[in-house]
């Protein structure tokens, strides 16, 4: 009885479940972070400016595009659509955030990272750079894992990249040569 209960999904190897968890953790975090910023794009632009990393004119574009990109990548990860591409983008975003936070820390600038909206200058004693970097390193690792092992249950990719039934070698080999898309 217990075997038959969830027979199909439980046959998947454990890394696929790790990928599902990684997808959801990174995806939900990105969607929440993006959604909190997208309603206040002026604040998002201001936050980017306070990092003092980019030329002034670029900060406007980055401040507007970043929350939208976060939501898009987050939704792709949650739904498991183009998982590998989305995971690479998510990991790259985290890498960029880690570099940004480390750089303001190294330059002795005291700001709130503005990761989930808000942002702005804070007292030096109120900065949380180590925690923020640790969090982003963790999220980077979830992205790296999902990019390495993109196959997972409950993913649109399973339908999108389903091997064609009439092609005998497609179901045999891991990646049939015709497949340009690496996510399968």
């Amino acid at each position: 009885m217990p075997e038959s209960a969830a027979a199909l999904p439980s046959r998947r190897p454990w890394p696929e479940w790790v990928t599902l968890a990684a997808r959801l953790i990174l995806g939900i975090t990105l969607v929440v972070a993006g959604a909190l910023k997208v309603t206040r794009l002026d604040a998002s632009v201001q936050s980017v400016r306070l990092y003092q990393l980019l030329p002034w004119d670029l900060t406007t574009i980055v401040g507007i595009a970043l929350p939208i990109l976060e939501i898009a990548v987050g939704l792709l990860l949650i739904t498991g659509t183009f998982t590998r591409l989305a995971a690479v983008l998510g990991a790259l975003l985290m890498l960029a955030f880690i570099i940004g936070i480390a750089s303001v820390w190294a330059r002795g600038i005291s700001i709130d990272c503005g990761c989930f909206g808000g942002g702005g200058a804070v007292e030096a004693s109120q900065t949380q750079y180590p925690q923020e970097i640790a969090r982003d390193v963790g999220l980077f690792l979830t992205g790296a894992w999902a990019a390495w092992r993109p196959r997972s249950p409950f993913a649109i990719d399973n339908w999108l990249f389903a091997p064609t039934a009439t092609e005998p070698d497609a179901s045999e080999s891991e990646e049939s040569p015709a497949d340009k898309e690496p996510a399968r």
């Binding site: 794009l41 936050s47 003092q52 808000g118």
Partner: protein, 262 residues
């Protein structure tokens, strides 16, 4: 013969299935791209939505040509007088304390022409406090400048600052209460309220915040208020506090401090 036909049919079916799969992948990929592009487009649109039409836009008469600040007692400053720039945000409680403690001494030096006093309106606290009260208060103050009441209006905004940071300013306070308190009446009141209702000085205020952010980032490496620059250099607010306790400032010592930093 039949073997060959079957083989050919099977191959054709396989090719069709493969083509269908490719179409599906490209279709979904294109849909995702289109959605992201639409998202960015809508974002930019919303970002520009709040901007006032150029035709109804008003620049305050006492603004500097570079659009950074409003000058107190224009033309009064003596030759070589230090240019004192005061960066403030109307929602900043410390700015209120600074204003009530040292504002009078500083404005008296401007009135005597010993310094050239520039008010630099910042609105970044709107972002931190998630409202738009700093911009609206700034817009009201700039509209007050069009009827020659900037300085009084500026002080009255701080008098009306809510106890809790982030509570913001009601439009009725900015539009009715403060104008009544500083004596904007008759035609002037009509002019002021029309300016405020159209948010005609908003472009000036948001631009002022941008320029102030740039200058503070390059001089102070951070954006915070109150900040004082003398001839473009930072004068720590704590040094001003050493010229006398709040409200009992030695104006001579204050002037000496400004000159020292000039």
């Amino acid at each position: 013969m039949t073997q060959n036909n079957r083989e050919r049919l099977r191959k054709a079916q396989a090719a069709a299935a493969k083509q269908q799969r490719l179409t599906r992948i490209i279709g979904v990929g294109a849909a995702v791209l289109v959605l992201v592009v639409i998202g960015v487009f809508v974002g930019v649109l919303f970002q520009n939505q709040g901007k006032v039409a150029a035709s109804s836009s008003i620049t305050p008469p006492n603004a500097t040509a570079d659009g950074k600040s409003v000058v107190q007692n224009p033309g009064k400053a003596k030759a070589g007088a230090p240019v004192v720039e005061l960066f403030f945000d109307y929602q900043c409680p410390v700015c209120k304390q600074f204003e009530s403690g040292y504002g009078e001494a500083i404005t008296s030096l401007a009135a005597s022409g010993d310094i050239e006093l520039h008010y630099r309106t910042m609105t970044f606290l709107d972002n931190n406090l998630n409202n738009d009260a700093s911009v609206r208060a700034g817009v009201a103050a700039m509209c007050a400048d069009t009827v020659g009441k900037y300085s009084d209006f500026h002080n009255a905004i701080y008098t009306n600052q809510p106890e809790t940071e982030g509570a913001g300013y009601a439009d009725s306070v900015l539009r009715d209460t403060i104008p009544a308190a500083v004596g904007i009446t008759g035609d002037n009141l009509t002019t002021f309220q029309s300016c405020f209702d159209k948010q005609a000085t908003k472009a000036f205020v948001t631009n002022s915040n941008d320029l102030g952010t740039q200058d503070m980032l390059s001089v102070n490496k951070q954006v915070s208020t109150p900040t004082v620059h003398v001839n473009g250099k930072d004068l720590p607010v704590n040094n001003i506090a050493q010229t006398g306790a709040s409200g009992t400032v030695d104006t001579a010592a204050l002037l000496a401090l400004f000159q020292q930093y000039a």
